[in-house]
């Protein structure tokens, strides 16, 4: 018999995970895209001060169970933060508080847990399982590659909204691809699609890097689509964290064959003077990347952490000093279910203006960060409304 499997969603990474379990031989019980409902479920059943990613992933897991999942694969951790206990605690809540019956619940700690899941799905051979992992990995990396292009390019698009449209299309294409050769083609085709978007080549946009806790940095729903909003304001974005990099560094090996550096040492060296210890979560990365963005000539950095996130409190405590020393504007955000979109946008716009003032002496052109449209006050004639 074929089991139905579900797992909590996180940004675009679900494409890779879905691929993995499908190849293992499962039917998918994919939870719906993260939504207000996810939050409601998560908040309702989580401890009040649990972190935002905990609440979202619990909500998403409940949605997977509602979609009929019999097997749950979920976050387990390499500590030393709360994430290491997500799986366990969520299982307790789901079983003891909510009365779900989940015979197969797998928090991922080691590669071994992946093999266990593979076996349950019917993929007994480890060699075969590893091949599936490799394929899913490549899918995930391709998805990230597309995201990277999108957040870099969005600010330059001439027809507003086109990047997002293309992004959705290429992600859909990845979801429908199952073979290595096709995946390569998809990557080529996707790249070409992005290239065909009409852009303003002469534009010299402001550049902002994002750092912070991995879940909220990566997941557009959890971070109120900050990357898209920045893009719509006309700002180029770079993200310091991608899931595959993280997995590689923390779970596979320290040496990164593509970039050719020892990641941990690299981070240590770059955080030196401000943070001398990996305190858990993504604090050391954050501090190191503020330094790196300065070196790379970025105009500013945005730090995003969930409200009550422990390591990000360390980051946030250090940022003011660092920002002053490096002469680098850094804006910090605390996000949870109470974060209001209006206030969020106001702060984002103010930051954009600040960066623009610093560089060009004038504020940013007024655009709506949600739609990307120029405000009719400035460009009324263009829009034909004057």
């Amino acid at each position: 018999m074929t089991y139905k499997i579900g797992f909590p969603r996180m940004g675009e990474t679900y494409i890779g995970f879905a691929k993995l379990v499908e190849l293992f031989g499962y039917d998918l019980a994919l939870p719906d895209a993260l939504s207000k409902k996810t939050i409601r479920l998560g908040v309702q059943h989580s401890p009040e001060y649990a972190c935002w990613p905990f609440k979202i992933s619990l909500g998403s897991t409940i949605e997977a169970l509602e979609a009929g999942a019999e097997v749950i694969g979920t976050l387990g951790g390499s500590g030393p933060c709360r994430a290491g206990w997500y799986g366990e605690l969520q299982r307790l809540i789901l079983v003891e508080d909510l009365g779900f019956d989940i015979p197969h619940f797998y928090p991922m700690y080691h590669l071994n847990d992946v093999f266990k899941i593979a076996e349950l799905g019917g993929t007994k051979s480890r060699y075969r399982a590893l091949k599936c992992v490799k394929y899913a990995w490549d899918t995930m990396r391709t998805a990230e590659y597309f995201e990277k292009i999108a957040i870099k390019q969005r600010c330059r698009e001439v027809n507003i909204g086109e990047t997002t449209k293309v992004q959705n299309e290429v992600m859909k294409m990845l979801t429908e691809t199952y073979e290595p050769a096709k995946l390569k083609q998809a990557k080529k085709k996707g790249t070409a699609m992005f290239e065909s978007i009409e852009t303003d080549k002469k534009m010299k946009p402001l550049k902002v890097g994002t750092v912070g806790e991995i879940f909220v940095v990566i997941d557009p729903f959890a971070n109120l689509e900050i990357e898209k909003k920045l893009g719509n304001l006309g700002i180029e974005v770079d993200r310091s964290l991608y899931l595959t990099d993280w997995i590689w560094r923390e779970l596979v090996m320290d040496y990164h064959p593509v970039t050719g550096y020892f990641a941990k040492k690299y981070l240590h060296d770059n955080a030196h003077g401000y943070l001398h210890e990996p305190v858990g979560g993504d604090a050391l990365e954050g501090i190191a990347w503020i330094n790196l963005y300065k070196e790379k000539g970025y105009d500013g950095v945005i730090e995003i952490g969930p409200f009550t996130c422990i390591p990000e409190i360390v980051t946030k405590s250090i940022i003011p000093t660092m920002s002053r020393d490096l002469d680098m504007p850094v804006q910090t955000y605390n996000i949870d279910e109470h974060t209001g979109e209006a206030g969020f946008i106001t702060r984002l716009e103010a930051f954009g203006d600040l960066l623009s003032q610093r560089r060009d002496g004038v504020p940013l052109p007024t655009r709506d960060p949600v739609t990307g449209r120029f405000s009719s006050a400035d460009f009324g004639a263009v829009e034909g409304k004057a």
Partner: protein, 358 residues
């Protein structure tokens, strides 16, 4: 040349102070402890620290500020990464020296911020203390002797706690220069659950109650932040028992009730302490003290609550402390919690009586 070394009176002060103090004194330094927590210290801490930090970390800032005008040569802000293999301290402890440095860099003459990391190997504390000695300008052979001495004192001290003495009482003995070994001998056969006021033969006397108070040491022992918990409970005729009175073996025994250990040493101990008391039928109630803004507690609380739900005959109460915790409000809650237990107690006694006579 001896230095004046300042120690903030919070966080791990409530766990390691006897060892630190012995060690530093043996090396010929003078130890200056910040003043007991007060409104002023809280305010200073709140002003200086990040708004979203937990209360204990804000307090720590306040205590460091208090030391600033005490003419101290070196600030003792060691980096406790891990003391138990497999567990770390809360991330905020790990980043503490960096946080303080970011705030007060130029105002602090010398940071003693050696780190101790026991994750991989046990017993590297000696190296840690050697590091401290080095930062203070002492040589390794002095450090070795001082460490041995401090270790001995600390072991005696902990043994004394295991007899059921509270950290604060033991600290008083230590500060008064009492012989901890002798104190231990004198107390080792006394059952902490026996109390002179507790006379089962005399029913006119209300029974002495025994509560477990669960929470981080810097919350349960700081009289200001917990609004004088110990004195209050004494007036209510209740004895308090804490997780640091439980031996490590007994705590480890509770691991079987958890799926795997938590990542933070003290959270681990708090949870295991709670489990220990919940499964030991000597306790009449559990008070769980948590701090506003504490990350790990979101998880420990849930774990403890789930376990307490299965052990309903032991009432459980949670107190959330923040910088505005009202004295009066807390007192009322503690009183009604205690009353509730006493009522239950006498109802049970009546039922028992009926059975026996009837």
């Amino acid at each position: 040349m001896g230095k004046r070394v300042g120690i903030p009176r919070t966080l791990l002060y409530y766990y390691y102070y006897p060892q630190w103090n012995t060690f530093l004194r043996e090396l010929g330094h003078e130890v200056v402890v910040s003043a007991p927590t007060s409104k002023r210290i809280v305010d200073e801490g709140v002003k200086l620290a990040l708004n979203d930090a937990c209360i204990p970390i804000k307090l720590y800032h306040g205590h460091v500020v208090d030391l600033l005008d005490k003419d101290v040569d070196a600030f003792f802000i060691p980096r406790y990464v891990s003391m138990d293999p497999g567990a770390r301290m809360c991330p905020k402890f790990l980043g503490l020296p960096d946080i303080i440095r970011a705030k007060l860099e130029d105002q602090i003459p010398l940071y003693v911020d050696t780190k101790v990391d026991n994750r991989k190997r046990k017993h590297i504390e000696e190296k840690f203390y050697r590091g401290i000695a080095k930062q203070l300008g002492n040589n390794p052979s002095e450090a070795k002797l001082a460490f041995a001495k401090s270790q001995e004192v600390f072991e005696d001290f902990r043994r004394l706690l295991h007899t059921g003495m509270s950290y604060l009482d033991a600290l008083q003995l230590y500060n008064a220069g009492k012989d901890l070994k002798a104190e231990y001998q004198a107390r080792k056969d006394i059952d902490p659950f026996d109390h002179p006021l507790n006379d089962p033969e005399d029913p006119s006397q209300p029974r002495r109650l025994h509560f477990a108070v669960i929470g981080y040491v810097y919350l349960i022992y700081d009289d200001f932040i917990n609004a004088n918990l110990w004195k209050k409970m004494e007036t209510l005729n209740v004895s308090l028992h804490t997780f640091d009175q439980v031996t490590e073996e007994a705590l480890d025994y509770q691991t079987q009730r958890m799926h795997h250990d938590l990542f933070w040493m003290f959270s681990n101990r708090v949870v295991k302490g709670a489990f220990h008391f919940l499964h030991q039928d000597k306790i009449d109630g559990i008070i769980h003290i948590t701090a506003f803004g504490c990350g790990p507690d979101a998880m420990t609380t849930k774990l403890i609550e789930l376990e307490a739900k299965n052990r309903t005959h032991i009432p459980y109460m949670r107190v959330l402390l923040d910088e505005h915790t009202g004295d009066a409000g807390l007192m009322t809650r503690l009183e009604s919690f205690t009353d509730m237990i006493r009522r239950r107690d006498s109802a049970a006694a009546k039922a028992q009586n009926l059975k026996e006579t009837g």
